[in-house]
């Protein structure tokens, strides 16, 4: 049974309002932090919690906070990353829609810890309804004295504003997000300097994901050590998983880190198994950017250990036989899905979303889309597979921001695990147009893994 830290009160009617949220014990973390703790104490609790960035990179949040420069007389900023654009990920939308005040409470606690007096919640522009929800929540909290000047009589001042994006995946990258917040195109910045030194308006800035900021609420309420008791190894606490694709019960689930992947897919408490009685073919466990896993590598790792929902276990085997926790965008493919078509779809996505600054990404993503389209439509040649491999290899690691890697990895993993299916599209072009390849040997848990 999963513990609920963020979604505990999700079913309480009116939990999206300040009053009901407060009745359920909301804003206790603000009272505790502002009245009984120093900013350093708050940072220390977050460090102890072992919380890792929930947006995708998994970098320890407390450590990120520790890097923040504090020059005299220079404002510091907290910016919440609510750009949520990674295909397969919809947890932040869910959280902001239903429990906006937990994000706001986390924003106040985190801003206090970082010494920020103005903070921004950057939300992708398409989420206009969620932008309105957050603006309403801010107005309610302000009216109740939890925002504005001299919060709860502690002398701490804080204003929080919501900033809409304009429709660009790249703005989920933190420096592109800052550029966008400054009213510019979302071109990622060259690092260093990191935002902790020179971020928004050139001032020290921390950018954290919606879920990471919300997680500071239970961490402050119960203490970092309590939070760290949940989970396994360096994967502590709970995680929101966005489950989509061919499953019985798609949706957002809060799980304890360490839950077996197999249980998450087949338990009625979570995904409820594969829809329509079909068989599992493949899984993308952490959003479109992470490597796809064939069925024989999902429940167990290459060494035969149970695959768990942790940063370590999902990555077990490296990119050869593992994947990544990423953003927790859990996309399930049934036996009727075409890997080539999906890989082409993702490649088209990255081509569309490349900001165009770095040529390996700008040109390479276009090449990958074209080659994959050629193969998918029955016009490919066997050499195209090698060409595709070559193109993705030349993008990876050669760009300013991780979008290049994010575009290359899914293509590499698809070829690595599903080469037979690519070849079948080329050798049987007519058949490939009329039906899908199906399962082949992928579902066989003992079949050897193709390197």
């Amino acid at each position: 049974m999963g513990r609920k830290l963020l979604l505990e009160h999700i079913d309480v009617p009116g939990i999206n309002t300040f009053d009901v949220y407060r009745q359920q014990g909301g804003y206790r973390a603000v009272e505790k932090a502002l009245k009984t703790m120093s900013p350093e104490d708050v940072v220390e609790e977050v460090k102890k919690s072992g919380l890792r960035g929930r947006g995708g990179a998994g970098f320890p949040t407390g450590m990120k906070w520790g890097f923040l420069a504090k020059p005299e007389g220079v404002p510091r900023y907290l910016v919440c990353n609510g750009d949520e654009s990674e295909p397969g990920t919809f947890k932040d939308r869910y959280l902001m829609t239903h429990i906006p005040h937990i994000l706001l409470e986390g924003m106040i606690v985190s801003s206090f810890a970082l010494g920020a007096n103005t903070s921004y919640i950057y939300i992708r522009g398409e989420m206009m309804p969620q932008i309105r929800i957050m603006e309403k929540a801010i107005a309610e909290a302000k009216a109740a004295g939890f925002l504005g000047k001299n919060i709860l009589g502690t002398g701490y001042d804080l204003e929080i504003y919501v900033q809409p994006g304009g429709g660009a995946y790249i703005c989920g990258e933190e420096t592109a997000l800052l550029e966008s917040l400054e009213g510019k195109r979302g071109n990622p910045r060259i690092k260093p300097p990191f935002p902790a030194i020179a971020g928004l308006y050139g001032c020290p800035t921390v950018v954290n994901n919606v879920e990471s900021i919300a997680a500071t609420v239970p961490i402050i309420n119960d203490g970092g050590e309590e939070y760290a008791k949940i989970g396994i190894e360096r994967s502590t606490g709970t995680k929101l998983i966005s489950a989509s694709g061919n499953i019985v019960r798609p949706g957002v689930y809060e799980i304890d880190m360490g839950l077996p992947v197999e249980e998450f897919i087949y338990s009625d408490e979570y995904c409820g198994g594969i829809a329509n009685g079909k068989k599992l073919k493949a899984l993308v466990p952490g959003g479109s950017s992470v490597p796809i896993l064939p069925a024989n590598l999902i429940s167990k790792t290459i060494n035969g250990n149970a695959r768990l929902m942790t940063y370590e276990s999902l990555a077990d085997g490296g990119f050869a036989t593992g994947s990544s926790m990423g953003s927790g965008g859990f996309i399930v493919f049934d036996e009727d899905q075409c890997i080539v078509r999906n890989t082409w779809n993702f490649a088209r996505f990255y081509h569309h979303e490349s900001c165009g600054q770095c040529s390996p990404c700008r040109e390479g993503t276009g090449w990958m889309e074209k080659i994959l389209h050629k193969i998918e439509t029955g016009k490919g040649s066997i050499e195209d597979i090698d060409l595709l491999w070559d193109v993705q290899r030349r993008i990876e690691g050669n760009t300013i921001c991780p979008l290049g890697d994010a575009a290359a990895w899914p293509v590499a993993a698809a070829i690595r695990h599903f080469r037979d299916e690519f070849e079948w599209h080329i050798t049987h072009p007519q058949e490939a147009l009329s039906r899908n390849y199906g399962l082949a040997h992928y579902a066989d848990p003992i079949a050897p893994v193709v390197q």
């Binding site: 404002p75 654009s85 397969g88 489950a243 999906n342």
Partner: protein, 175 residues
């Protein structure tokens, strides 16, 4: 693709300018350019698209060069540089939605409206386009309609047909 041909002079209302000023007050002194994206959303909600004249006037309000507005308006996918249908249906076309039938829904919309992606119906009521992941993968296929960006989830051919009918009736009532 700035379209000078389709330019269209605008005069911002006092109400809109008040909203502009409220947004601009969210940022530190001298950093008003930060208001650019929210302002363009406000203008688009008012006029349905961004004409060159509208962008020039936003530039004037923020005391920045017009090119600074154009480069932003052309970078982000939500801003329209030419008029759209009164109801612009934006359907998610990315992987997870395609696993549950988004491509079929797009084809259905194209057939039902009788216009290709990006075109406007003769009566000016509808246009449609595929957009990238809308962060609603568990409720796919999904579409959104601006300027409120209302969401329609778990789409089927029937629910889309019904939606189009509802919007037609709504337009008639408003006319």
């Amino acid at each position: 693709m700035l379209s000078v041909k389709e330019n269209h002079p605008v005069e911002f209302s006092a109400e809109l300018l008040t909203k502009f000023a409220e947004v601009a007050s969210r940022y530190p002194q001298g950093k008003q350019k930060s208001a650019l994206l929210p302002l363009l959303h406000l203008v688009q909600a008012e006029y349905g698209w961004l004409s060159t004249d509208a962008m020039d006037k936003v530039a004037h309000f923020l005391q920045i060069e017009p090119i600074e507005v154009y480069e932003v308006a052309t970078f982000y996918t939500m801003y329209f540089l030419r008029p759209q249908g009164k109801y612009n249906l934006e359907i998610c076309r990315t992987g997870p939605c395609c696993l549950v039938g988004a491509e079929r829904i797009m084809q259905y919309i194209e057939d039902a409206l009788g216009v290709k992606e990006g075109e406007v119906t003769a009566d000016g009521l509808f246009s449609w386009r595929g957009v990238e992941c809308l962060a609603a993968c568990g409720y796919g296929p999904v579409l959104q309609i601006g300027p409120e960006y209302t969401f329609y989830e778990n789409l089927t051919e029937q629910s889309v047909a019904q939606l189009i009918e509802t919007l037609k009736n709504k337009a008639q009532t408003e006319a």
